[in-house]
């Protein structure tokens, strides 16, 4: 299959997920000071899959995620979660931001960060009970960080910080996991752990959407891919969409620097 046009890909996905998509985006445009960061993005994510959002720097990947989560107000377009508007469905989404987005000298411990994932269920005054702490330790255990529970977060390595963020997302106990570059700048062991946890989540029916920067591993880890460069260049199953031609269309002249492993690209 050759390059899919935006609308083809969109229509095909829309038909496939006619039932209820966990995450559907229609005509989403976000702009900063009259310059669109993403323009008219359509995206339909299938339940129980892992979808990678891939594109060059400045393609609007993080912006798309933030708009999907309602952190940025879009100029146009809509987001629906399991067929309903986002505002009613916040509880269904867990979010893992980029590691660089927070201050790691903040006075808090690993377990406190994971507990933050439970705040929305605890509400303003809900008591933190032993069962909540056990739950938090369980989440840390899943990412192999239980031994670090009482460390100050600044003492962790980059990969460990990322795993703590994933544990916090797990503590949110959601159906849809939205992750911003979960594998950026982490060690190989962390990458393995994170991917294993995400695949477990998917296999138990959750839906994963992650920004991913490493073209060489996209087809190993993910089921579907959205190629983004301000607009959706192509979207769908990895085997159909992750082609040399589509990547060329997404990255343009920058593809050479993105270092694609030729064997990982479906032809």
């Amino acid at each position: 299959m050759s390059i899919s046009l935006v609308n083809d890909a969109h229509n095909k996905n829309a038909n496939l997920a006619q039932s209820v998509s966990p995450l559907a985006v229609h005509g989403l445009t976000v702009s900063y000071n009259q310059t669109p960061a993403i323009f008219s993005v359509n995206m339909v994510v299938h339940p129980g899959t892992m979808t990678a959002i891939v594109g060059p720097n400045g393609a609007g990947k993080s912006t798309l995620l933030k708009a999907v989560l309602g952190v940025i107000k879009p100029l146009a377009g809509s987001v629906s979660i399991l067929g309903k508007p986002l505002v009613k469905m916040r509880d269904k989404i867990a979010y893992m931001p980029q590691r660089a987005s927070v201050d790691w000298d903040f006075p808090t411990r690993v377990i406190d960060v994971v507990m933050m994932g439970m705040y929305r269920n605890l509400g303003l005054l809900g008591r933190i009970r032993a069962s909540h702490r056990e739950q938090a330790i369980k989440c840390l255990n899943r990412v192999g960080m239980a031994d670090f529970a009482t460390r100050q977060i600044g003492q962790l390595s980059g990969g460990q910080q990322q795993r703590v963020f994933l544990a916090r997302a797990l503590a949110q106990d959601a159906e849809i996991y939205v992750l911003d570059e979960p594998l950026a700048g982490v060690d190989a062991a962390t990458e393995k752990t994170i991917i294993a946890v995400l695949q477990e989540l998917r296999d138990s029916g959750s839906t994963i959407v992650a920004v991913h920067h490493d073209l060489a591993t996209v087809s190993d880890y993910f089921d579907d891919v959205v190629l983004l460069n301000k607009q959706v260049v192509a979207a769908g199953p990895i085997d159909d969409i992750f082609t040399e031609a589509n990547l060329q269309a997404t990255y343009g002249g920058r593809l050479a620097t993105a270092r694609v492993d030729p064997e990982s690209v479906a032809i």
């Binding site: 309602g70 931001p97 006075p107 808090t108 933050m116 705040y119 929305r120 005054l125």
Partner: protein
């Protein structure tokens, strides 16, 4: 002096001291979130923006034939004008490309300038009640009445309960704003509430600390508290204690010497706590880190020296030789003593153990403790130790 601290200077002074203490607690707690949210200077803009409101309230109250010195009226004016300043700030940062620092500078100076002009006009009015208005600049508890102190107490209690109620969204907004939003709390509303609380503290604190220095009462306790703890609950608690003590001691001192402005005294007391924290706090304090540094350097030198001994290499660095001699590990000519030989063999064995632990992912937690010094036995179970020792293939010590 002692009388003042023991609240023996009469009913009014006692009320004022207790009021200042409560204000300090409220300011310390409210300021902690401001500090952690990295918006400390917004409070400076808020406080300076109160001045036009104070002057205008005075003019309005006098021209309607009322009492121009009614504290409630003046504070109401201060609150309205501070809220206006906050709105300007919000508008400038969200609707223009101006950064928050520039917007703070603009709002602060324009409102303060306007306030000073209006205060000058007030001074030329022929009503004769103006005396005392300048007390809002630097704080003065001299003319405070029982009702004024009660107002302070009530407002401080309200602020404390609000913070208690909103601490989770505040904590999230300070640590990870985007995550706060995805947890279902609107960041705009969290910030609005945070600034609202700071505004209330500022306005009720005006009479005691004065608008120029109230920022210190909000920020200094939190900054000092940060030295003592690595947990946000801890920072809030310690900031409350330090803020309360600053208010209490400062107001008591000022009751003894009414000629001195209250605000600066409270701030200086807070500053004394800051200096103490800066110097003496464990871990983050200056003395502790200097001490830790030298201790660490000594241990590193000893370790390197021992490893050199174990491998039969010469020790080049004079400091290393000196430290090892002092520890009784080597003789002046560089030859190892009996205890030096034993320690060297142990050092090499530990180094080999560490290299195995660090290469194995199943020891990830223990491996992060590797710094060339930590005693490995503390982190591994005897079984794990045996397993590690079984895997050692590196050369053993010479001894």
């Amino acid at each position: 002096m002692i009388d003042a601290l023991l609240l023996q200077l009469g009913y009014n002074a006692t009320l004022v001291t207790l009021g200042a203490c409560l204000l300090g607690i409220a300011a310390g707690v409210a300021g902690t979130f401001l500090f952690l949210r990295k918006r400390a200077l917004v409070s400076d803009a808020i406080s300076h923006a109160t001045l036009p409101g104070i002057a205008l309230a005075f003019i309005v109250m006098v021209s309607f034939g009322g009492n121009g010195r009614s504290l409630f009226g003046l504070l109401f004016g201060a609150g309205v004008s501070a809220a206006l300043g906050l709105l300007c700030l919000h508008w400038l940062t969200t609707r223009t490309r101006l950064g928050e620092d520039a917007a703070i500078g603009a709002v602060l100076s324009v409102f303060f300038g306007l306030g000073i002009v209006m205060l000058t006009i007030v001074q030329t009015m022929s009503v004769g009640q103006q005396a005392g208005l300048e007390g809002f600049l630097l704080g003065s508890t001299a003319g405070m009445l029982r009702g004024d102190a009660l107002l302070l107490a009530v407002a401080a209690s309200v602020v404390l309960s609000l913070v208690l109620f909103l601490r989770r969204p505040f904590e999230l907004a300070a640590f990870d704003p985007a995550f706060a939003e995805t947890s279902g709390w609107s960041l705009a509303w969290i910030d609005f509430a945070m600034m609202g609380i700071v505004l209330v503290v500022t306005v009720v604190g005006l009479k005691v600390v004065g608008l120029i220095l109230i920022v210190a009462l909000l920020i200094v306790p939190a900054v000092s508290a940060r030295f003592w703890t690595d947990r946000s609950d801890g920072v809030i608690l310690i900031a409350a204690i330090l803020g309360g003590l600053s208010g209490y001691i400062g107001a008591a001192l000022s009751a003894v010497a009414p000629a001195l402005p209250t605000g600066p005294i409270i701030v200086l007391v807070g500053f004394a706590f800051f200096v103490m924290s800066l110097l003496f706090a464990p871990k983050r304090g200056v003395l502790a880190s200097v001490l830790t540094h030298y201790q660490y350097q000594r241990q590193i030198h000893l370790r390197q020296g021992l490893l050199a001994l174990a491998q039969g290499q010469p020790i080049y660095e004079a400091l290393t030789r000196r430290l090892m001699f002092r520890a009784g590990l080597i003789l002046p000519d560089g030859v190892a003593t009996a205890s030096g030989q034993a320690a060297a063999a142990k050092a090499l064995l530990d180094e080999n153990r560490w290299s195995i632990v660090r290469a194995d992912q199943s020891f990830a937690a223990a491996a992060t403790r590797y710094d060339g010094l930590t005693v490995i036995e503390e982190f591994l179970t005897p079984d794990q130790m045996n397993e590690v020792d079984g895997r050692i293939i590196a050369p053993r010590a010479l001894f």
